[in-house]
Symmetry: C2
Subunit: 222 residues, 2 copies
DNA sequence: GGGTATGGATAGGATAACTATCCGACAGTG
DNA sequence: CACTGTCGGATAGTTATCCTATCCATACCC
């Protein structure tokens, strides 16, 4: 198929496909003549994947390119794959002062001890967590940290289930794509469900027993 | 204090503070003369909050402005507050075709039944979830949906804990800020922990038993 | 063989989030 | 009270990201 049909089958405009080709998100089609290329079903799937990562997973084009590059390197072990997918998603930041960060660092270490997590000190996610706790503290919401163990326990359960899922199919290609999809879209899924659960819980808690004033709206009101 | 000290105390550059003032994220200081304003601790806190929402919570300036506006409207009930915080975070999208979306819609309805969630059909998050499942399906990863109940159960637990936390302090102002901080930073927290749990789980699963080839790296390797 | 589509290159546009510059007005120092 | 540095407010410029638009020589299709 040529670029027009690729566009029709995926809903992605032709100029955008060209852009993705330029950026290396999408491998070039097979050239039948110097200026005539043909694409196949793999391109269709890849393009859908790109849109999923970018639209649903909210990756930047550059980050998407990174993870996709991992898909293309054959035989990469799943653990490093996961890592690569993770690094693509993480946007590092640092904004708090050293004092609050120091105590946050200890809290994180304790948390990992309690849950038996062996995470390297320089892990990007670990630093992100430290920064997050320091931020909460500097805002005066240190007690949110009481919920930390609940969050961590939930995260552990999900991680186990997800890695089970990744391991279900032992084909390397499939595992790699699952690792990516699971990491990236799994984030979105978790967030969306958390929001829905909040919506339900807050409705039953704050609305059911005690009806609210007139023009009050719930999570999706005006 | 004047703008320079505000900047020093928060680490935010003066021009950026001016920008936030222009955009209405930060209320103007009190004018002592036509061109001399003074700021106080409330400005310091607000500015920290802005940076937390923008840097850690990854809200856009416009979205941050929205949630902050909610903080400023007095006496807003918590349920609507939560909703407002949520809408600021959600970036709506639509990309899948109608057929896969239709079956996704049913799956979502079933899920909500199983968990006893009463969520309105037009809820933004609900639509986001439908879109997400449809995307997974179109990528050929429908079986990821088997994990849905685990995710939902985890989300429910967390939502309960979080709304308990919000309700701990009955001062309206505090509840409102907690709803926002909990929603926005809670997202980041959950994602970060999920990643850490994955890192741990994948390390114990894929590395411990079977050492990998030489130059292989974990989630934070080169 | 003539209109339409294609591939590849290059340029242009939209938006977001700052950042820089200016200028006239203070403010603190001595 | 002069002087040096900072301030508030306005306006313009910058950078990055993610596309769109336009060209043009070729190729496909009827």
């Amino acid at each position: 198929m040529r670029i027009g049909e690729l566009s029709r089958r995926t809903g992605v405009p032709v100029p955008t496909i060209k852009y993705y080709l330029r950026e290396g998100l999408l491998p070039p089609g097979e050239l039948s003549s110097p200026n005539q290329a043909s694409y196949d079903d793999r391109h269709v799937h890849r393009l859908k994947l790109v849109r999923a990562l970018v639209d649903v997973g909210e990756l930047s084009i550059a980050a998407a390119k990174d993870v996709l590059a991992a898909i293309d390197s054959p035989g990469l072990p799943v653990h490093s794959m996961l890592g690569r997918a993770q690094r693509a998603v993480i946007t590092s930041r640092a904004g708090t002062d050293d004092e609050s960060r120091e105590s946050a660092r200890r809290e994180v270490a304790d948390l990992f001890d309690r849950h038996g997590w062996a995470i390297k000190e320089h892990s990007t996610s670990r630093q992100a967590l430290v920064e997050l706790l320091a931020t909460l503290r500097s805002l005066g919401h240190d007690d949110f940290i009481d919920l930390l163990d609940d969050y961590a326990a939930a995260a552990a359960t999900l991680a186990t289930a997800e890695i089970d899922w990744i391991s279900q199919d032992t084909t390397s290609d499939v595992m790699v794509e699952r690792a990516i999809v699971g990491t990236v879209l799994g984030d979105s899924l978790m967030i969306t469900l958390r929001r829905l659960a909040q919506e339900h819980e807050s409705a039953t808690r704050f609305l059911d027993g005690s009806p609210q004033p007139d023009r009050v709206s719930g999570p999706d009101g005006p």
